[in-house]
Symmetry: C2
Amino acid sequence: MFEREVTVLRLGHRPGRDDRMTTHVGLTARALGADRVVLSTDASHSRDTITDITDRFGGPFTVETTDNPKRLVSSFEGTIAHLTMYGLPVQSVEDDLRATTDPLLVVVGAEKVPFDVYDRADFNVAVTNQPHSEVAGLAVFLDRLFDGRELEQEWTDADRRVIPKETGKKVVPTSDAE
Amino acid sequence: MFEREVTVLRLGHRPGRDDRMTTHVGLTARALGADRVVLSTDASHSRDTITDITDRFGGPFTVETTDNPKRLVSSFEGTIAHLTMYGLPVQSVEDDLRATTDPLLVVVGAEKVPFDVYDRADFNVAVTNQPHSEVAGLAVFLDRLFDGRELEQEWTDADRRVIPKETGKKVVPTSDAE
């Protein structure tokens, strides 16, 4: 979306059990300014839901899958930020994170994350050192990374658009909204 | 946590199917500065998990349940903010939301939210007008409401504490950490 390419990698996915969380990671990545999410090959249900939302509400946003997420991490050319409650506080690293316009890979774990990822990451980042939610952590991380500019994003190729309202709901076809 | 009491109400919960999302709503409320979460009576699994985390990682934080969430909304004495993708942009209402120190009720819906809630809410607030995640919306909302101060929060009565690290994990008993 912005001058810098931001990819979110969802690491670990147990089909069935993790479907909703993985879908929420992908939709949060899309809504809050990332360009791309990469899911595990067996997260096809989440992939389809995120693709469907992008078709209806617009992009640009890409959903990809991989059967080798560790290779994506090890071969990534750019900066890697791994979100973990054990890392350094987001408020202390966000300036450094914004200091380059290198491509950025944001790694969001589900189950136990292999030590290689901690090691390879340029930043292990904690949105509080408390246990909460990888979706919440990703959301605060992206809002701070983009300094709120992601909230003003324009969407292309949408077939519908929500018109903000004080009370109630208003959704219009995009041809009427422009 | 702060001068103002902030309660998060999780509206709607389907046992089993919503357990993880409801748990994440509660843990996000706790980690990001709310004082209290109110869940549906049948979200006992989520209640237990959030209580357990509070026992281990500290408080103050309260988990309550109700069998009549609509009454909590209709009788609440204070300001009500309802998070919905159909509402007004968070970036345009956050100053108004911070202008008082009234108790604040933040309503986070799951399934379809009754129109009464839109009507009773002082603010229907959208963290983007895009579909994503109630957990992500709550996280960005709280981080902006507290202007990042929630990230510096001190915890009391914890039995363990995470020490932020550049790489790896370090958790110590609180008696050693002080």
